[in-house]
């Protein structure tokens, strides 16, 4: 069953790929490279040792920012969702953080703290954190009142509440924050690298942009997308399936 599911996705991929191939072959313009061209750009970057190195550097930044943004943003969001006072007081700050342009935060942090790794990662965290908070705030708001009372009467410990009461209710919101979060963080990391780092995918992408080397741009993009797709297949989708087991339509027993 899992295999046939994978099969569907592989077919979908192949369809996309052939569509692209056909269109790009017909157009035949270096600005819309064919899959083959992108692949050769990919293997060039790989052989010249830039691809893996840039990817690792960027992924490290993405990972660190992701962990911090999710933890802090999640905590903040849930507290805001549960406690009206917290929400009222912090809401304006949240709106400001949410809407302050990424560029502004990045520049200010770079200028104030210098072009150091910490400034880069902090900038990404500040950019992503309010999104997580906004998402998990809705989760916190929708907590089931009756189950909450139950956990009180049956003397659930804090740990039990966390694991068995709150986590499952927050789960869909956490998945939203994770999926759109990974994407957002990666995009911001690109900008951060563009503005003040000398390595990483963002740096390479922009060099390619200046030479208008669309094949290389796409090569780097797809390399990262592949990583995300693997995360999706081997971490997120199994989690999804696991979490939907208990639902009416879900898996066995």
């Amino acid at each position: 069953m899992t295999i046939s599911k994978m099969g569907d996705q592989v077919i979908a991929f192949v369809c996309l790929l052939s569509l692209w191939w056909v269109v790009s072959t017909i157009v035949s313009n270096p600005l819309l490279p064919t899959p083959a061209e992108v692949f050769s750009a990919l293997s060039k970057e790989w052989h010249e040792q830039r691809l893996l190195e840039s990817l690792i550097v960027t992924l490290r930044r993405v990972l660190i920012s992701f962990i911090f943004a999710m933890t802090l943003g999640g905590l903040l969001g849930v507290l805001m969702g549960r406690f009206r006072l917290v929400n009222r007081v912090l809401d304006p700050l949240l709106i400001i953080l949410l809407n302050i342009p990424a560029l502004v935060v990045i520049i200010l942090l770079y200028i104030w703290f210098g072009l150091i790794e910490v400034a880069a990662v902090t900038a990404v965290i500040i950019n992503k954190l309010p999104n997580v908070a906004v998402t998990l705030r809705e989760g916190g708001r929708m907590f089931d009142h009756e189950l909450e009372e139950m956990s009180l009467m049956y003397r659930f410990s804090f740990r039990q509440k966390l694991l068995h009461l709150w986590w499952p209710q927050l789960f869909p919101y956490i998945m939203i924050a994770t999926r759109s979060g990974l994407a957002l963080i990666w995009k911001i990391v690109l900008v951060v690298e563009l503005l003040g780092r000398s390595d990483g995918v963002g740096f390479q992408l922009h060099l390619a942009f200046q030479l208008f080397d669309v094949a290389t741009i796409l090569a780097y993009s797809f390399a990262f997308i592949l990583v995300v797709q693997l995360i999706e297949w081997f971490i997120l989708q199994p989690l999804d399936r696991n979490a939907s087991r208990w639902q009416k339509g879900g898996g066995n027993v």
């Binding site: 049956y154 659930f156 068995h164 208990w246 639902q247 027993v253």
Partner: protein, 224 residues
């Protein structure tokens, strides 16, 4: 002896409970009868401490001292099962009592040993109620609150569960119970004392020993 006094309860500007006093000796069962919507569940919630704000708001002054002495240790069987839907039945029970053997034993007492690994969405309502009953019976409180534990059960099963409650709760020398039901047989069998709630403006129309009442008198009180 537990003594519970509330001067009234309003929710969203509607009077839910009139002034009310319930005395309960250790080991005794007090039955709570009354028409649908008369405030039985609300009363249990107040006793369990789940309506804090409202009480503080509406019963000024010494409102904190709802219980004459300290608040007893309470176990509460809700009117609805309130199982965690994302945990199997056994997992639900294990959260209350970590000893797996005790849990499986309780589960077999409510005749659900075969459904140990089912998720709540995949068992019938009557079964879910029995799981909730089993969960409540895993606690060892001084005071048990039960809100219509035996509805949605067929007669033989209900009778068996009644016996189980009688054995585990009523049979316990120091464990008291407040038992809400619409079923007079249950009330007469389990109760030592009884309160009958009237209809609107939710007040107590009778509160005393249940043995001093005949079944017919009780029925007439309820028809009120």
């Amino acid at each position: 002896m537990f003594e519970f006094t509330v001067e009234g309860l309003e929710l969203s500007d509607k009077k839910i409970l009139a002034a009310l006093n319930i005395k309960l000796n250790p080991g005794e069962t007090h039955c709570l009868l009354g028409p649908s919507g008369s405030g039985k569940t609300s009363l249990l919630n107040v006793m369990a401490g789940l309506q804090q704000e409202s009480i503080v708001k509406n019963v000024k002054g010494e409102s904190q001292n709802l219980w004459s002495q300290r608040k007893p240790d309470i176990g509460y069987l809700f009117q609805q099962p309130r199982l965690l839907p994302w945990r199997t039945i056994t997992q639900n029970l294990l959260l209350v009592e970590p000893n797996k053997e005790i849990v499986m034993h309780r589960l077999s007492e409510v005749r659900l040993q075969d459904y140990a690994d089912y998720y709540p969405a995949k068992i019938s309502l009557g079964m879910a109620r029995r799981v909730a009953l089993a969960r409540c019976l895993l606690l060892k409180p001084e005071l048990v609150l039960m809100d219509e534990p035996l509805t949605s059960l067929d007669l033989p099963t209900a009778r068996e569960m009644r016996k189980l409650i009688k054995r585990l709760v009523c049979g316990h020398p120091t464990r008291s119970m407040i038992y809400v039901t619409h079923n007079l047989d249950e009330a007469l069998e389990l109760g030592d004392t009884v309160s009958v709630l009237g209809n609107a403006p939710a007040e107590v129309i009778y509160s005393n020993s249940i043995n001093s009442l005949s079944r017919e008198e009780l029925e007439t009180l309820l028809k009120h």
